[in-house]
């Protein structure tokens, strides 16, 4: 069993109109090497499902997004995601805007093969109105009215992890695994990119606890060192604020997106790293504290 593949092979599995989910959270551990490969591809009309960071903005900038399912889009250090904002304000994308908790509830429902899960989150807000969400009444004596959060079923999920093996075993060694396990479970297929890939993980018991989802969920493993850049991949490296600023500037610059693609994306991943000071410099980016 060997699930190793290249980013190009991973992205070749996408079809126009697919619903794809991304792991990570805002500017944290996003599968950006895969995102850059999608930017270089012809795939279009995607429904993107994400706790959004720059991957959302970049895919919006490239015109790849038909619909965005999100709770937020932000780079934290640059709170308003510039391309998301620009495209959203122009009315160019459909949106399903959800509470952060509803979002994970929808992923959980998908992973458990349920049509919906009940929650109070979203009741009495405009999230109900804009998304045509329905309520359900508790069948028990309390009779409470609850929101029925529909399953967020994904055709494909992309997750970036610190370490993986060729069998699809993964380790997330940063202090928070976010909701990547739910993203993986919600998807028909999941491909992980990893900072480091080995033939077979052979771990002590304490390290094995960094495994947050099972390898049967993983159909592909891509070796993508520095593959989360410019987002952070704790504990390996922090986010690259200078790069995020450069990317943000592209939203207001004349032909900014084309220039950004030429400068960073079109040349492939080696050229990308070189344009950002090289792999060693990326390794030195400090993990931010708050």
């Amino acid at each position: 069993m060997n699930k190793l593949m290249t980013t190009a092979e991973a992205v070749a599995k996408l079809r126009d109109g697919m619903t794809i989910g991304f792991g990570g959270w805002g500017p944290r551990r996003k599968p950006m090497a895969i995102v850059r490969e999608i930017l270089r591809s012809d795939v279009k009309d995607l429904t993107v499902v994400s706790y959004g960071g720059p991957e959302v903005g970049m895919l919006c900038a490239a015109g790849k997004v038909k619909k965005l399912v999100f709770g937020f889009a932000t780079m934290d250090a640059i709170p308003l995601e510039p391309w998301f904002r620009k495209v959203r304000q122009a009315g160019e994308i459909e949106v399903m805007e959800l509470d952060e908790g509803m979002f994970q509830w929808g992923l959980r429902a998908a992973g458990m093969r349920l049509p919906f899960l009940p929650t109070r989150c979203g009741l009495a807000t405009d999230v109900m109105k804009h998304n045509d969400l329905r309520t359900i009444q508790s069948p028990y004596d309390d009779g409470e009215e609850l929101l029925a959060m529909p399953a967020l079923n994904l055709d494909m999920a992309f997750v970036h992890v610190n370490k993986a093996d060729k069998l699809g075993n993964t380790l997330i060694t940063g202090s928070d695994p976010y909701f990547d396990h739910l993203v993986a479970r919600a998807a028909e297929r999941c491909i992980v990119s990893a900072e480091e890939v080995v033939d077979k993980l052979e771990l002590d018991a304490a390290t094995a606890r960094f495994n947050t989802f099972e390898r049967y969920l993983v159909q592909g493993v891509v070796h993508a060192p520095k593959g989360a850049h410019p987002t952070m991949c704790a504990p390996d490296y922090g986010w690259d604020l200078a790069h995020m600023k450069r990317y943000a500037a592209s939203a207001t610059q004349e032909d900014g997106w084309t220039i950004y693609l030429d400068e960073f994306v079109n040349g492939g991943e080696d050229a990308y790293q070189a344009a950002n000071g090289g792999a060693d410099a990326i390794s030195q980016l400090p993990v931010p504290t708050f």
């Binding site: 009444q137 695994p177 504290t289």
Partner: protein, 269 residues
Amino acid sequence: MTTNCEFTLAELMIVAASEAFRGDGEILASGLGIIPRLGASLAKMTHAPELMMTDSESLLVEEPIPVGPRGDYVPKYSGYMSFERVFECVWGGKRHAMIGPTQIDRFGQTNLSVVGDYDKPKVAMLGVRGLPGNSINHINSLFVPSHNTRAFVEGEVDMVSGVGYNPARWSKNMRQDLMEIRHIVTNLCVMDFGGPDHAIRVRSLHPGVTFEEVQANTGFELLKAPDMGETAHPTAEQLAIIAQLDPHNLRARQLKDNPPGIRGASNDQ
């Protein structure tokens, strides 16, 4: 003639923010933004040591972490609180968050999504984030650094992201009893929802601010709390703790021109 003032408006607001957490008991306190975070931290360091706090990522601390670059400071972790566990905490109602929404209406409904038309907004902001779930499940307080009619809007907010006390939004079978909006701390005053049918009242005015000025900068009618007085001045002890929690004086950069705590006085520190 000006008089010297030993505290800034930001420090006064930190103390006011800290008061919002009084009596909360053993729950997670989350202050989002420098002043709310310092307020929650000050509460834990003074009147509410039972509060729980995180490092603003995924680890719990019993000693609030100073804001900004840490230098030699090494956090002492007491537990784990991943984002997933924060949601479990939220849904169990064991949290009090102080957040800064873009718009607030007379019902306490909040907006962090868009300004203007939903399909083609004038301004797209962060998205609703956790507001729908936070607001319906646990105590929230609101922080407004610039009290004006753009923040406190007439009518409803443009996109209701966080729930409030608007009867038209609730059905009889929805659990409205799990929500509470505690205080609103602004650069002019402190307000609460203690009026009839949760109408917003001014609890205290910051030194030198009049009720009329607050009303003129609010898009809906305000009430005066029966005991409306002046917002408490920070004590020397509170100021010392704030300085320790904010060694880089980030609080001085949170309000335009870092005004003194007493209107018309000059900062003297």
